[in-house]
């Protein structure tokens, strides 16, 4: 009787569609986008199919089962010791050869493998046809063609999984190496099996032999820690020498060449190419990485994004504001006044209603178009091109091009940007990238900049603030690089082809992000407004504001109420603006702030503190010490820059 519950792991190269498949299987909402390295932690979901419970695991994308990065280490340990019942190797049909390199390594591990030949739709668009049946024969494992974004083939994949679990089909793959290599491997693996029975129970002896030939430190360590380890190490050393004598190349190279040789033969045999033509996508790729044109295009993409937010958001904001002021607020006030006693009614009406109103009319109109545009950008494949263009500049701050991706994501929200910094290979670079990524104005800060400077002073001053922020990122990054010296490592990144963004994915992503923004932000807005109103009624407002006056009024030149809203802004950045409206009893900021004050206020709000959620993300990724130091640095920077900006701007006529 087969088990009722089984574990299925999705493994494959980066950006092949593992998470898209995972979402199809489990109905989850893992991040999907067109750049390599989105999934950084393994995710779990469950699904019920034909009376079974399947636990599905989404793994980070990997190119090999070596020990180059933490993700690969995690994936390899999980596959070897986590013992999933089935591993679904998701493979990109349009670049089979490279993808098969990992498949062969999975076969070496004697993993229970089923191949999902994904993106067959895209491959056939590029004139690439893969014979799934032949591929299955050659590798000895089931191969199911799929289109993860539409769900085509998912049902068949599930059936194959169930058949495999029921023992109806076998998935015992074949992996060939050249004759000499096989002979050497057999000798070595026999010795391993008889001398190291404990390890051989966990890892297949042939795989251990391969890894020893490759000089894998991790496996060498495992072998050495055993009693007979030195014996095997001596044998492996001899085998390595034999191999190198035959091939005249280091054994590592021999093994990699063998795999690629095999992969390339298989790929050739099962793939049919139709006459390749230069597609629009390729032309676009050519244009956007052009040595001269690439940079103005990058600038134009970013600027037009903000222009759209400004245009769409500004209009929507006006409409919503009128609607709220004219219709919702009077009705709401009337209703509350009728039900509740007078003191409480005032608290709710002025505090909560005004807060919600400001949240609705200021925050959402800017955030929705912004999320939509970001989702389109993420799904198109532009991010890796931007990373390519910015590689040089990123080296100046001790990073490489890939770090530009978390920076761009930072415009959406600093929390995923912090996590995305795992795209950097080493701890030092990860922290450096996060340190600057949180300075990028997130959507909440865009609400402040657009809702205040954009709406009252125009697009240009708002864009100037963004430009200033980018310059600041480079400057601060340079300083941090000086403080944390070390040789930056080079860029190695796959460049995925451009794709027409899938509208379904874009809409879904926008909706999910907006929803989570609303779910997280509105409780804060309500609570913040209530507390603020309570403080006001209790009469603590003035003493509090007066205590902060030297800093807020004298140094920054802001009205003293602004200090209080900046404190609340620690929770969420858009509170700084929304609560200002609550405090002043009007959402017409021109009555509260002068133009200079608007700029200084936005500048300080932009830099002064990563919000609570970001600090939590920093703590999780880098520990308390670094998180606190980063926060303190940002506060100091914001105060210094705010005061300077106030003085400099006041000099202007």
């Amino acid at each position: 009787m087969a088990k009722k519950e089984a574990t299925i792991a999705l493994a494959g190269n980066a950006n092949v569609g593992k998470s898209a498949l995972f979402n199809q299987l489990t109905g989850a909402s893992q991040t999907i986008g067109n750049w390599p390295g989105k999934t950084v932690e393994k995710a779990e979901g469950t699904l019920f199919f034909m009376g079974r419970t399947l636990r599905v695991i989404d793994l980070p994308g990997i190119y090999s089962l070596s020990t180059f990065s933490i993700e690969e280490m995690i994936a390899r340990e999980y596959i070897a010791t986590g013992r999933p019942d089935v591993i679904v190797n998701v493979v990109d049909a349009s670049s089979l050869e490279r993808n098969l390199y990992l498949t062969l390594q999975l076969l070496e591990m004697e993993a229970p493998l089923i191949i999902a030949l994904n993106q067959v739709d895209y491959a056939s668009k590029r004139g690439i046809r893969v014979d799934a049946k032949r591929l299955s024969e050659l590798l000895g494992v089931p191969v199911i063609p799929t289109v993860a974004i539409t769900g085509e083939g998912v049902e068949e994949l599930l059936r194959a999984i169930i058949d495999y679990l029921d023992g109806k089909i076998k998935a015992s793959g074949k992996d060939f190496k050249g004759k000499e290599v096989e002979r050497i491997l057999e000798k070595l693996s026999k010795a391993i099996a008889s001398n190291l029975p404990e390890i051989s129970r966990i890892y297949p002896p042939r795989w251990l032999a391969i890894k020893l030939l490759e000089g894998d430190e991790d496996v060498e360590g495992k072998v050495r820690s055993h009693e007979n380890g030195h014996l095997i190490m001596a044998l492996a050393e001899a085998a390595r020498e034999e191999l190198e004598n035959i091939h005249g190349e280091p054994s590592q190279v021999v093994m990699a060449s063998e795999r690629y040789g095999f992969a390339s033969r298989i790929a050739k045999e099962v793939t049919q190419f139709e006459a390749p033509r230069i597609s629009i996508e390729e032309r676009l790729s050519y244009l956007t990485t052009h040595r001269v044109l690439g940079y103005p295009i990058l600038l134009a993409v970013i600027a037009s994004m903000f222009w759209m937010i400004f245009a769409v958001g500004g209009r929507l904001s006006g409409i919503l504001d009128d609607l709220f002021e004219e219709i919702v607020l009077p009705i709401g006030k009337g209703a509350i006044g009728a039900i509740l006693p007078e003191g409480v009614a005032g608290l709710i009406a002025d505090g909560v209603l005004a807060g919600i109103g400001a949240g609705l009319s200021i925050a959402l109109p800017f955030i929705i178009p912004f999320y939509a545009l970001l989702a389109i950008l993420e799904d198109s494949g532009y991010l890796p091109r931007a990373a390519f263009l910015m590689d040089n500049l990123m080296h100046k701050i001790g990073l490489h091009g890939k770090a530009f991706i978390p920076l761009l994501l930072g415009f959406g929200c600093s929390v995923p940007a912090c996590l995305a910094c795992r795209i950097m290979e080493r701890d030092r670079e990860r922290f450096l990238a996060a340190f600057v990524a949180i300075l990028i104005p997130c959507a909440a800060r865009t609400v402040v900049i657009m809702g205040l400077v954009g709406a009252y002073l125009g697009l240009m001053p708002a864009l100037a603030l963004y430009a200033f922020d980018l310059a600041l990122v480079l400057l601060v990054g340079r300083l941090a690089y000086r403080a944390l010296p070390g040789e930056p490592i080079g860029l190695i990144m796959e460049m995925p082809p451009y794709r027409m963004p899938s509208w379904r994915i874009v809409m879904r992503k926008t909706w999910l992000r907006t929803k989570s923004f609303a779910y997280v932000a509105f409780p804060y807005i309500v609570a913040g407004s209530l507390i603020l109103e309570a403080i006001k009624i209790a009469g603590w407002l003035d003493p509090l504001a007066d205590a902060m006056a030297p800093l807020v009024v004298q140094w920054l030149g802001l009205p003293k109420e602004a200090g209080i809203t900046l404190i609340f802004g620690i929770l969420r950045k858009e509170l700084t603006l929304i609560l200002l409206a609550t405090l002043a009893g009007t959402a017409n900021y021109a009555e509260i702030l002068s133009p200079i004050q608007m700029i200084v206020f936005s500048l300080v709000a932009m830099i002064y503190f990563p919000c609570i959620s970001t600090v939590a993300a920093l703590v999780k990724e880098f520990g308390w010490r670094k998180a606190v130091l980063t926060a303190l640095f940002d506060i100091g920077l914001a105060i210094a820059l705010g005061g300077l900006a106030f003085r400099l701007l006041s000099l202007l006529p």
């Binding site: 190119y63 090999s64 070596s66 180059f68 349009s94 670049s95 089979l96 050869e97 490279r98 390199y101 005249g248 190349e249 280091p250 590592q252 190279v253 990699a256 060449s257 690629y260 390339s264 050519y286 990485t289 040595r291 001269v292 690439g294 890796p384 990373a387 390519f388 263009l389 590689d391 040089n392 080296h395 490489h400 091009g401 490592i489 080079g490 860029l491 190695i492 990144m493 796959e494 460049m495 082809p497």
Partner: protein, 210 residues
């Protein structure tokens, strides 16, 4: 001469013998002459002096390198790699090169001062063809194709490059080069890969068709 490094003809000849052996082919005087692209008479004279110096032996009509000969090729290649890639070609690189003075033990010098590990050195020693044909991927122009000879650099980097498909013998095409020693986009095995300038200058290739 085109690369500013004198091509010692004797080394060229013994390098050709090594290559012929690695390719599993015969190495008669005619084969060697063909391979090295030199006139037969000249090659014969060179081979004689090589025999005198104990670098090559004649063995049943075929030439073979002695251990000393293999070392000589390796030494030659190491010096070439050192001058060509160990230092930048700009004025700063020249200055550093001058300051280093004459390096007598080139092998340990490469290992300790230039962080090129032992495996890379072995690979360079065993590579087929004349070392002068080799150039870093970063020096190719947009649109040019080449065959990967060997990746240099530390263990981790070399492993990653090979995993991404850049094993010796692979054909690569330069698709894009960013300005000012920026990254390089190459087509490898049907996918495209962005390599930082530093990384690309560690991938040693040979122009295909050259």
């Amino acid at each position: 001469m085109d690369q500013g490094i004198p091509r010692d003809k004797l080394t060229e000849v013994i390098e050709a013998i090594l290559t012929l052996h690695l390719e599993g082919g015969r190495a008669s005087a005619i084969d060697v002459a063909k391979r090295a692209g030199l006139p037969l008479e000249e090659v014969e004279a060179l081979l004689r002096s090589g025999q005198e110096e104990g670098l090559v032996v004649l063995d049943g009509g075929q030439y073979r390198l002695t251990a000393k000969g293999v070392d000589a090729v390796r030494e030659h290649r190491m010096r070439f790699v050192h001058e060509r890639y160990g230092h930048g070609r700009g004025p700063l690189g020249c200055l550093r090169r001058l300051l280093e003075g004459d390096v007598s033990d080139i092998l340990s010098h490469l290992k300790t001062k230039h962080e090129i590990d032992g495996k890379s050195i072995e690979e360079i020693g065993a590579a087929k063809g004349a070392i002068e044909e080799a150039l870093p991927l970063s020096e190719l122009r947009e649109g040019e194709s080449a065959i990967v000879l060997y990746p240099l650099g530390g263990l981790g980097l070399r492993r990653r490059l090979m995993e991404m498909g850049l094993v010796p013998g692979t054909e690569v095409t330069v698709l894009r080069k960013a300005p000012f020693r920026g990254p390089i986009e190459v087509g490898v095995r049907g996918t495209s890969l962005a390599l930082g300038f530093g990384v690309a200058s560690k991938v040693i290739v040979k122009r295909s068709g050259a």
